[in-house]
């Protein structure tokens, strides 16, 4: 089957009566899962698996991937309106989304996020389609040496995120790196910082940590402060018409900033190609990039719409990249992709090279699912905004207990583990303290996620390629980029300081 043939067949299938209803249901299911804090794409797909047994392959693929595609969109809505990341990858949206809501611009932020998601996802899907002829080569680009250096590069973005208070940001990032060491050391088999607890042997689970840092801490804050989530207006809920107007104005701004969307989407797609990094760092790096290149750097973190657009575009563009190695070799780049592979298996599909040869139409069904799923998510997401916005005007004494219940349930269900609720609580307290003392929680999260990737892959890179592994062409290029980027940041930091003095 040629690529053009596969493209046309995939397009017709995606819109056919056999497939589209499943795609629609899957996407709506994903959107709702995304809105609920703690439930991720991983969870949506796991829930969808049992339904696959009776489905045709094309319908099943559209159903399960649709459920995964819209999760980040739903999560963005929750992040902006409730200061609670709906999924881990929406943590970066927390930096500028909630401040916009406080200024009474919640609708605008959601509108921008929804459209940025759709554009990012489309970018990632198109990139995947273009890469198809060289997909195998592309998905083998990133091995341990490349991942180490790329993680370092991502880590330098802490410098951009925390420019205003470099000392505190570095403290937070280093704390994150230290927390990444909790658990069983893969090299020596020694348990580190587990306090002899069996539950910590796998390290700190990411979802409860993110929920604690960004959601539970906000609930504490809201409860102590009192009032409601939208404290800017005089306690009156925003009218429906005003919300609609804001959504469309947010979308308009996103369209005007199409170049930013493109750049952040390419960051997302590239980082999606890297196995094991996940989409949370991609969103933060894109956010850092948006801030770095913005004319108005000072307003980032205080409600700049570019921060929302950058983060949301990247975290949906990741999907295209993550699918690459899954399709090319049947090698899942993330836990969600591992479930997708399990799903394909149940559907009786062959994955890997044979899929590229004999089932190219299904590959295109996947690509169209990402695009159409996100379009469905954007349209239905708009309908969700209004009722959810009204909830943000509820008194904190009503809202906080409800949200706390949902958040802690979210922490529990990921691994069916009570202990992860404790982690969410502990990190909620830590997050609240950090917020009060203005230490960057984002910097800490980046340190945590990347510390894990750096340590593991550094060891592997050293074992595989020896102590000079960074001298190979791709790692060397990345090293140069990292050094230039870091040097430039240090230079501007010193320059700005002199200016102030």
């Amino acid at each position: 089957m040629g690529i053009l043939e596969g493209f046309v067949s995939g397009l017709f299938q995606a819109f056919s009566f056999d497939v589209f209803p499943y795609l629609l249901v899957g996407s709506l299911f994903g959107l709702i899962v995304g809105v609920i804090p703690g439930l991720s794409g991983h969870f949506a797909m796991a829930m969808a698996i049992p339904f696959l047994y009776t489905m045709e392959p094309n319908a099943g693929v559209a159903f399960i991937l649709g459920a995964h595609a819209t999760v980040a969109q739903g999560g963005g809505i929750t992040a902006i309106l409730f200061s609670t990341p709906g999924t881990g990858q929406n943590a970066a949206t927390m930096l500028d989304g909630p401040p916009m809501r406080r200024q009474g611009l919640g609708g605008q932020a959601v509108g921008a996020a929804l459209l940025a998601c759709f554009m990012g996802a489309t970018f990632g899907a198109v990139a995947l389609a273009i890469l198809l002829p060289v997909l195998q080569e592309a998905s083998l680009l990133f091995g341990p040496p490349e991942i180490v250096i790329l993680s370092f590069l991502a880590l330098t973005f802490v410098a951009v995120l925390g420019k205003e208070d470099m000392a505190r940001s570095l403290v937070a990032a280093l704390l994150g790196l230290m927390l990444a060491m909790v658990g069983l050391d893969n090299v020596t088999n020694q348990a580190r910082f587990t306090f002899d607890s069996f539950a910590l042997i796998d390290g700190l689970p990411l979802v409860p940590v993110i929920l604690g840092l960004f959601a539970v801490s906000e609930m504490f804050d809201l409860f102590i402060r009192g009032g409601s989530l939208s404290d800017s207006s005089d306690g009156k809920a925003m009218s429906m018409r005003e919300t609609q107007r804001q959504i469309f104005s947010g979308m308009k701004i996103t369209l005007q900033k199409w170049w930013l969307v493109m750049r952040c989407s390419s960051i997302g797609t590239l980082m999606g190609l890297v196995p094991g990094l996940g989409s949370a760092p991609a969103a933060f790096v894109a956010y850092g990039h948006a801030k770095q290149t913005s004319k108005d750097k000072a307003s980032f973190g205080k409600g700049n719409i570019e921060g929302v657009i950058g983060a949301e575009a990247a975290n949906d563009a990741v999907e295209g990249g993550a699918l690459a190695s899954t399709i090319a070799f049947g090698i899942p780049g993330s836990s969600s992709m591992a479930i997708l592979l399990g799903g394909l298996f149940i559907l009786g599909m062959e994955t890997g090279p044979r899929m590229m040869i004999s089932h190219l139409d299904i590959v295109f069904v996947m690509i169209f699912t990402i695009v159409i799923g996100n379009l469905i998510g954007t349209i239905f997401g708009m309908f969700l905004v209004n009722p959810l916005t009204r909830a943000t005007f509820l008194r904190s004494s009503i809202l906080v207990p409800v949200l706390i219940c949902i958040v802690f349930t979210g922490a529990y269900v990921v691994h069916n583990a009570w202990f992860e609720m404790v982690i969410a609580l502990v990190f909620g307290i830590l997050g609240y303290v950090m917020k009060e003392l203005s230490y960057s929680r984002a910097a800490m999260l980046i340190g945590l996620v990347l510390g894990y990737a750096i340590e593991k892959n550094l060891y592997l890179a050293l074992q595989l390629d020896g102590p000079r592994f960074y001298l190979d062409p791709i790692p060397l290029t990345l090293v140069v980029i990292t050094l230039v980027f870091l040097g430039w940041n240090i230079w501007t930091f010193i320059r700005d300081r002199k200016k102030e003095a």
């Binding site: 091995g143 070799f329 399990g342």
Partner: protein
């Protein structure tokens, strides 16, 4: 180790009454148990994430297990600590017969031998419904690499790299066993996140090959990306006629008695495979009823056909036989036990 005799004695002490009770209750009427399960809900614990082999096997059998128990079966993924968390969860679940689960038998046995921290179970004390499949372990190498056969690897001029996941995990222990038997000039690179990442490393030619289950290698073999050069088991399976078994090679190379003992112990561990277990001490009639239902489910023609069409091997053993295999696996000569304890702890 001195406690081998003691362990055998304990095992027998547990086994005999269990068998006796099972035998007795089999003769008894199971209608009470049948009534108990009818419409009740059974929790089926999978100690790994959705999408893996254990998850797929579980989802394959569950509809048939529901059919023959009359109960609703709820699958629950409890991943963590390399499957030990789920195994512990099953072990300490209420003894009402409403919790079952599929476990990684050989890993549980070796972890117990090595006294790994956190293992709360005594493997032979689980109630055994039976086994879905025995482990068929294979050494797969890249088709684009420098080697074609195991013989070439034996005569390799320089050290080659084998990928493995965690220190002490099964991909690691298998590689150590082969290294011990055949004095392979290998460097085991452990610390890969999952077998998927090892496969990527193999395609990137970072490493030469990896040990793993036949089920997870088969697709890459059919795609021409990997080649199986060595397999576990008593004799070559029909599906892999060209690769010698470890046993064959060991006999040909006359590795000596001590090494043969390690090999036999390893084969015993592979036989444990993927058993379905209950917590210890559930009522005998309920265990007998579940064993019967599991056997019926495993022999359901429709289920066998479904397994075949999805390329899943089945090597059923009933509950009684499985209990025997489990007991046998834990008993090994002193030197072999020392080897596995050392291997699992990552000391070699």
């Amino acid at each position: 180790m001195k406690n081998t005799l003691f362990r055998t004695a304990t095992a027998l002490a547990v086994m005999i009454p269990t068998l006796f009770m099972a035998g007795q209750s089999q003769a008894e009427d199971l209608s009470a148990a049948e009534a108990f399960y009818d419409g009740n809900t059974i929790n089926w614990i999978v100690p790994y994430s959705p999408g893996g082999g254990y998850d797929e096997y579980s989802r394959l059998i569950i509809p048939y297990f529901e059919k023959y128990t009359g109960a609703r079966v709820r699958l629950q993924n409890n991943p963590g600590a390399g499957g030990m968390r789920g195994a512990n969860d099953i072990y300490r679940a209420p003894k009402d017969g409403l919790t079952v689960g599929i476990v990684n038998g050989s890993a549980l046995v070796t972890n117990q031998l090595a006294d790994i921290e956190g293992a709360i179970y005594e493997f032979e004390n689980y109630g055994f419904l039976g086994r879905m499949v025995a482990d068929q372990r294979v050494l797969a190498i890249s088709t684009t690499g420098e080697f074609d056969t195991i013989e070439e690897m034996l005569e390799a001029g320089s050290t080659f790299k084998i990928g493995a996941t965690g220190l002490g995990g099964s991909t690691y222990v298998d590689a150590l066993v082969a290294g011990e038997l055949f004095n392979l000039d290998q460097d085991i690179i452990h610390g890969f996140d999952s077998s998927s990442v090892i496969r990527q490393a193999m395609l990137r030619r970072d490493i030469v090959g990896m040990w793993g289950s036949y089920g997870s290698a088969i697709q890459d073999v059919e795609d021409g990306m990997q080649k199986i050069v060595l397999q576990s088991g008593q004799e070559r399976t029909d599906a892999i006629p060209d690769a010698p078994t470890v046993l064959e090679l060991a006999e040909r190379m006359q590795v000596g008695d001590e090494k043969m003992a390690v090999l036999r112990a390893w084969q015993g561990l592979n036989d444990v495979g993927r058993p379905v277990v209950t917590p210890p001490g559930i009522p005998a009639d309920r265990l007998a009823f579940l064993q019967r239902a599991f056997e019926q489910a495993m022999n359901d023609p429709e289920m066998i056909e479904e397994a075949q069409s999805s390329g899943r091997d089945l090597t059923f053993a009933n509950g009684e036989r499985m209990a025997q295999i489990a007991t046998d696996a834990a008993v090994m000569p002193e030197s072999a036990e020392a080897f596995f304890v050392e291997a699992v702890a990552g000391g070699i």
